[in-house]
Symmetry: C2
Subunit: 120 residues, 2 copies
DNA sequence: TATTATGTATAAGAATCTTATGTATATTTG
DNA sequence: CAAATATACATAAGATTCTTATACATAATA
């Protein structure tokens, strides 16, 4: 009966990174639909990151409301798909978000793996 | 009049990483007090990450309540300091958290910087 | 025929953080 | 010397993001 019994062991660390992930994937692939994004992320992370629908769809709607994404509905095999792509504004913002992500990763690496103290 | 005018441009990306940062610093430095942690993080990240008290102190209290940290109060220069250190349980958990962080960083790098498609 | 996969959606609640305060002492600056 | 800044802890209200659960619907598979 339970339709969704896949265990999400996603650590709290991923919190806050979903928007950046979505925008990066759209920048790379032109247009994608929600379900496709979840599968793509699962593939790239070898099953380690499973985006839940409860997180994904509200995020997509919000990015659209902010004018960063455009949507285009298609019907494939009698099933609805909502393709999202970056707007011009979204493309510019993606550059900023990716830059922030690089800073973030660099900072986290500095914290976790501090450069060894110089000895003389 | 405004006592706290430092701008926190911290992106949402850091959300969820505070506990891991705290535990790693304690693992590295033995014992630290709250204010010291904020200054250390600011230093390591060259001012890019400023932990707010509103995030830090509740996090420390929670880690203590979970049995991962021990606290020890000292008075220095007539000012109170609460030194925190990892419990045994906290040390074990730190290993897990750091492992999770490494996975997280690796996955984010895979997403942002995908290995180029092989061409023949 | 029942389950799994595909596909989108929302609501309730949890977790984490920002912002704004509050309290107190020490040090530095105008 | 008075005011501002630095040091040091604390909490409450609200925002944001996510998990969990549920809902609906069609296609493919067991």
């Amino acid at each position: 009966m339970p339709r969704n019994d896949k265990k999400m062991k996603n650590s709290q660390l991923y919190k806050g990174s979903l928007n950046t992930i979505i925008m990066k994937l759209l920048e790379e692939n032109g247009k994608m639909y929600g379900y496709e994004i979840t599968q793509k992320v699962k593939g790239i992370t070898q099953g380690e990151l499973n985006i839940t629908e409860g997180a994904l769809y509200p995020a997509l709607h919000k990015l659209e409301a902010e004018g960063l994404l455009d949507v285009e509905i298609e019907k494939v095999d009698n099933r609805m798909r909502k393709y999202y792509k970056l707007t011009e504004s979204g493309q510019k913002e993606t550059v900023n978000r990716l830059s922030e992500l690089e800073d973030f990763i660099r900072n986290m690496q500095s914290l976790v793996n501090p450069s060894p103290k110089l000895e003389f």
